[in-house]
Symmetry: C3
Subunit: 130 residues, 3 copies
């Protein structure tokens, strides 16, 4: 198992961690299996989405902000309930298939750490099972 | 494989099943691997979110109820379409990494059965793969 | 590993792929383990939901269309940002438990390819790990 550290530069952002994930899979030395990813936080998540046009990511974050407004009738005193809700909508755990030592993604897919209450340094566990 | 039974006490709630999951993993006797969880229902789901302040869970449920109102122009005669939609937003299947016989969660993370059309007794399949 | 091809007949729809998944698991010859599914696209996803009354699927798609409108203040020039957002809400990767050569689903559950920007032919990777 490995732990990736991901620095998120702003309050809400999607950080491409595809290369970090591929490096960790290569280091693990397992050429065929499943790569499990797990975010150790409750106000961040993982998403697999377009890695080409960056406006896709800003559109995603803006749309989520409309669906789950930052300010609302929330009871949680910390004031970041919207981030908790978004985190569960996207999910903390995702897995990708590994073949020939490579994670298998579609042409336009990248793996992103979705930050909903940054900036912070986030931890993502990675384990490859053969 | 094991089957967990979870009694949900109200129409919408999030029941902490972290201890039940850890017990089942310990009984399985696999110390390193992946613990797969799968809810056998279409109006309940799993979520990994904050286990400390209970207002996070009520904020999550209230926000979801605004996003997907219980009453709307639904066609499904059973009247619980909102529950079906929320179930797919959170997802039926999640997995956590196991090391040293322990499920690896962040400091503030718990595993919850999210009930969207209770009260009921729900079934969660659990299988640990090494 | 196998690759399923799924023809989606309309712009937004949920295509039942349960039988295709079961066939591929049977062909893989692994009777006990985890079946991992992964959609190679950024405007389609997987969902596990009711396989009986088809109005559940139309209610799901209609509700999602209200939550994330097709037309909005999106920047992505391709005009399909709503599909990208829905894809991450449902998720590209799901996994089901296999026992006795069968995928284990609840009585009312089916596995669906959720198309958010069709019609297209979509690709779903499937890998069974024992």
């Amino acid at each position: 198992m490995k732990k990736l550290h991901v620095r998120t530069p702003s309050h809400e952002c999607m950080v491409d961690i595809t290369a970090q994930v591929q490096s960790a899979v290569s280091e693990a030395g397992i050429t065929e299996g499943i790569c499990h990813l797990f975010v150790l936080h409750t106000t961040a998540a993982l998403a697999i989405n377009e890695n080409a046009d960056p406006t896709v990511r800003t559109d995603i974050l803006n749309a989520l902000a409309k669906v789950v407004p930052w300010q609302d009738d929330y009871d949680h005193a910390e004031g970041n309930s919207a981030a908790h809700i978004k985190a569960s909508l996207f999910g903390q755990d995702h897995s990708v298939i590994v073949e020939g030592g490579k994670i298998l993604l579609g042409t336009w897919q990248g793996i992103f750490l979705a930050e909903f209450d940054g900036p912070r340094t986030r931890q993502v566990l990675l384990k490859v099972v053969s």
